[in-house]
Amino acid sequence: MANIRRWLALLLLMLLMAPMARADDTGQIQFHSPQQAAQYQHLLQEIRCLVCQNQSLAESHADLALDLRLEIAQALKRGESPEQIKARLVKRYGDFVLYRPPLRETTVLLWFGPALLLLCGLWVVWRVIHRQESQA
């Protein structure tokens, strides 16, 4: 009984602390409209942090990510469109900052490579089945 109560207490504590895990600087920025706040959140998900490369700007706690978040927020408030902001970041850091890279010559393999591999696999499977059938 005492054990269960201890577990419940721990669970309650964890639930109470959950909002803190998400608390960061983004809550302090005052946007002009809910749309702008939504644009901001969306941009942060789409842009990669250059310091911790497998995190988006929204997730990263790196110093540079913090700076870039502020830069994006200020640009949005100045009235820049998300496209303009993205274009500026790409010009500065390259396509790498985008989690969804644009389709161009150098990224064709990145976009269609998996499908190509799948086709190769299907071809091998088809050959194997075909051979077994002809032997039977």
Binding site: V51, L64, R92, Y93
Partner: protein, 173 residues
Amino acid sequence: MIRRFLPLLILLAVLMVAAVGLRRDPTILPSTLLDSKAPLLRAALLQDGGMPQTAELQALLPQGKPSLLNVWASWCTACLQEHAALQRLAASGVTIFGLNYKDTDAAAMAWLRERHNPYRAVFVDPQGILGRDWGVYGVPETFVIDGQGVVRQRIVGPIDDRALSQQLAKLSR
């Protein structure tokens, strides 16, 4: 005959791709500035007292001779590691400019006083705003600028002065 060795050939191809892929350091990103004019860098200079002075990198670049822009900070341990290499380069006559990134003037000044100062001039960027124009995402970073003011290379992390001086010699020709 070929059929027999096909699996082996495929294995070799995969191994080759893996060998190349695994050796690449994904944290080193190519600079978008390569082969374009160095972004305008106009900022206050780091100095030991006296009247604050502002300067423009483009005006200070030696004409027809390559130079370096080294982004550093007193809090950066890798900068300490490459300091000797910078000094060797400066001693051999290479013009090196500094960009003091997210640092305080006092700390930067003390750091330079304690060691030798390899820089022709150091621009200060306490907020890291100028560094952003150059696509800096970590310190140290070193940009090689040719005699025409064009960025020719970016090195992320501590420099290797031997490789760098060879490259500078190539650019001087």
